[in-house]
């Protein structure tokens, strides 16, 4: 598989790797994918009082493009409102990273991870969400 320089850059220098305190009320955690499918993404967002995502962290089990997709979205969600974060589409991720067609599912997974993290945050704050339940991208 030949990857774009952007994928290689995110793979070799992944941004925002790590974990936030999942029990913290200001943190939303989304975990999507399945080990049997070869990729699992965990995305966490920390939302400030103004409703802005001020921090994001990820951990990913998966191929190079899955790692790059999740690394990229941690950069993209930062500074955005929840609704702005939800507006990030997999096509934009795939385009930014120039993912080959067989790797488009990695960008879909990254989009799902954002939705799951936002849903988890909103559940904690009892906001009626978008219909996405954490850890279950298939519910929508």
């Amino acid at each position: 598989m030949s990857y774009s320089d952007k994928v290689l850059d995110h793979y070799e220098n992944p941004r925002n790797v790590g974990a936030l305190e999942a029990d913290d009320a200001s943190v939303g955690t989304g975990m999507v994918g399945a080990p049997a499918c070869g990729d699992v993404m965990k995305l966490q967002i920390k939302v400030n009082d103004a409703g802005i995502i001020e921090e994001a962290r990820f951990k990913t089990y998966g191929c190079g493009s899955a790692i790059a997709s999740s690394s990229l979205v941690t950069e993209w969600v930062k500074g955005k409102t929840l609704d702005q974060a939800l507006a990030i589409k997999n096509t934009a991720i795939a385009e930014e990273l120039a993912l080959p067609p067989v790797k488009i599912h990695c960008s879909i997974l990254a989009e799902d991870a954002i939705k799951a993290a936002v849903a988890d945050y909103r559940n904690k704050h009892e906001v009626v969400g978008t219909g996405y339940a954490a850890c279950d991208p298939t519910v929508a």
């Binding site: 793979y11 999507v32 399945a34 080990p35 699992v40 089990y61 191929c63």
Partner: protein, 403 residues
């Protein structure tokens, strides 16, 4: 520091041994004759070279040179053996037996025969990759005409007991085909003793050129096959097409070297493989795939749990290896061989095959071990599954959303 990248994918293909290449070159230029030309010295010279190579190939596997049929490679040999024998003997029955861990060059001809109205039993191997011979015997029916079991598996390197399987087949009147693409020069083959009727060979897995192989077709008792390629009636009608003299010369030279050197070479390779395994098995959660004892010394297949194979290969890009990860295949399915062993999908996705060969050095193995130690840890630091494992979460108890 060894020269990079380091080639550890000898089961995919091998370089041509320089001694082999040297033998081939004259047959590309001045000795260019068609071995089928009976009327002049150009043809005679080429024919003599082809027949000498036939003896060299027969020499490695201890058969009569007349039992060797040249083909374009092991895939063609498998097709010719399986489809050719099934079509010739279909009056006796239309049932065949094979194993789920066979190479696609065996499984796909079987699928084709199913389309033609044959019935095929696909046996599951045991978790160590080896065939349970009682299960094999039980699968034989009165209408079984052929069984095909590979000698050495391409992914996990395990050696099937073709000696006993051959006895069982002969006792039941079932033809026995063996795909030996991965075993020449690695495991001894004695066709005078083995009850094997058809055996497929490849040159390029044994330091010969690509594009040439052979099929052994037993003469006593005589095995008949229907040709799959029709033309000038070359190779006693079994495989038409002008013989590729230079390729054949290369295969002969490569198999002669294998016969002469395999005993000493395999000891050196076994030392390197054992050193590689000793080095990587000190990492946590590394699982060997396939039996360690009944295995060629060249192969190590291990799963680095909680690390996905393709991303590991990216990390260790200085090593040319292969993976059973779905991400390395177009189908997005992990290795069917590892799944047939009962390995779960995670371990199949996390597998790396290292295959060691004639030109691998100890320095390269040391470098590989060092690289793996560095990068497996780095990728696990990125892995949510590793965190969960360390927190004591049983990943099988988690309800994952399939996608």
């Amino acid at each position: 520091m060894p020269k990079l990248p380091i080639y550890l994918d000898y089961s995919a293909t091998t370089p041509i041994d320089p001694r082999v290449a040297e033998k081939m070159i004259p047959y590309l230029t001045e000795k260019f004759g068609n071995p089928a030309s009976r009327s002049h010295a150009f043809g005679w010279d080429a024919d003599q070279a082809v027949e000498q190579a036939r003896e060299e190939v027969a020499g490695l596997v201890n058969c009569d040179p007349k039992e060797i049929v040249w083909t374009s490679g092991a895939t063609e040999s498998d097709n010719l053996a399986i489809k050719g024998a099934a079509q010739f003997y279909k009056g006796k029955g239309k049932h065949l037996i094979t194993v789920r861990t066979e190479h696609k060059a065996v499984l796909d001809p079987m699928r084709e025969l199913e389309r033609q109205g044959f019935e095929v039993t696909y046996l599951d191997p045991e978790p160590n990759g080896l065939l349970d011979l009682d299960k094999f015997t039980a699968a034989i029916r009165p209408d079984t005409i052929l069984a095909s079991v590979m000698h050495v598996n391409n992914e996990i390197g395990v050696i099937q007991d073709i000696e006993t399987i051959g006895e069982i087949c002969r006792g039941k009147g079932v033809l026995f085909h063996v795909d030996a693409a991965q075993s020449t020069g690695k495991a001894p083959i004695d066709l005078a003793r083995l009850k094997v009727d058809l055996m497929s060979f490849s040159a390029h897995k044994t330091y010969g050129p690509k594009g040439i192989g052979a099929l052994y077709v037993r003469r006593k008792p005589r095995i008949r096959i229907e040709a799959q390629m029709h033309g000038g009636g070359h190779e006693r009608g079994m495989r038409s097409g002008t013989l590729a003299t230079h390729q054949i010369v290369g295969m002969g030279a490569a198999f002669r070297i294998a016969a002469e050197e395999m005993a000493t070479e395999n000891e050196r390779i076994r030392y390197l493989r054992d050193k590689l395994w000793a080095g990587v098995s000190t990492l946590d959660e590394v699982h060997l795939n396939g039996d360690m004892q009944r295995r060629v010394p060249h192969n190590l297949n291990a799963s680095f749990n909680f690390v996905e194979g393709e991303s590991l290969m990216m990390a260790i890009k200085d090593l040319a290896v292969s993976s059973g990860s779905a991400c390395t295949s177009a189908s997005l399915e992990p290795s069917y061989v590892l799944k047939a062993l009962g390995r779960n999908d995670e371990l199949a996705h996390s597998s790396i095959r290292f295959s060691i060969g004639r030109f691998t050095t100890e320095q390269e193995i040391d470098y590989a071990v060092q690289l793996l130690h560095k990068h497996v840890g780095k990728l696990r630091d990125l892995s949510p599954l590793w965190d969960m494992h360390r927190a004591g979460v049983d990943l099988n108890s988690v309800q994952w959303a399939a996608h």
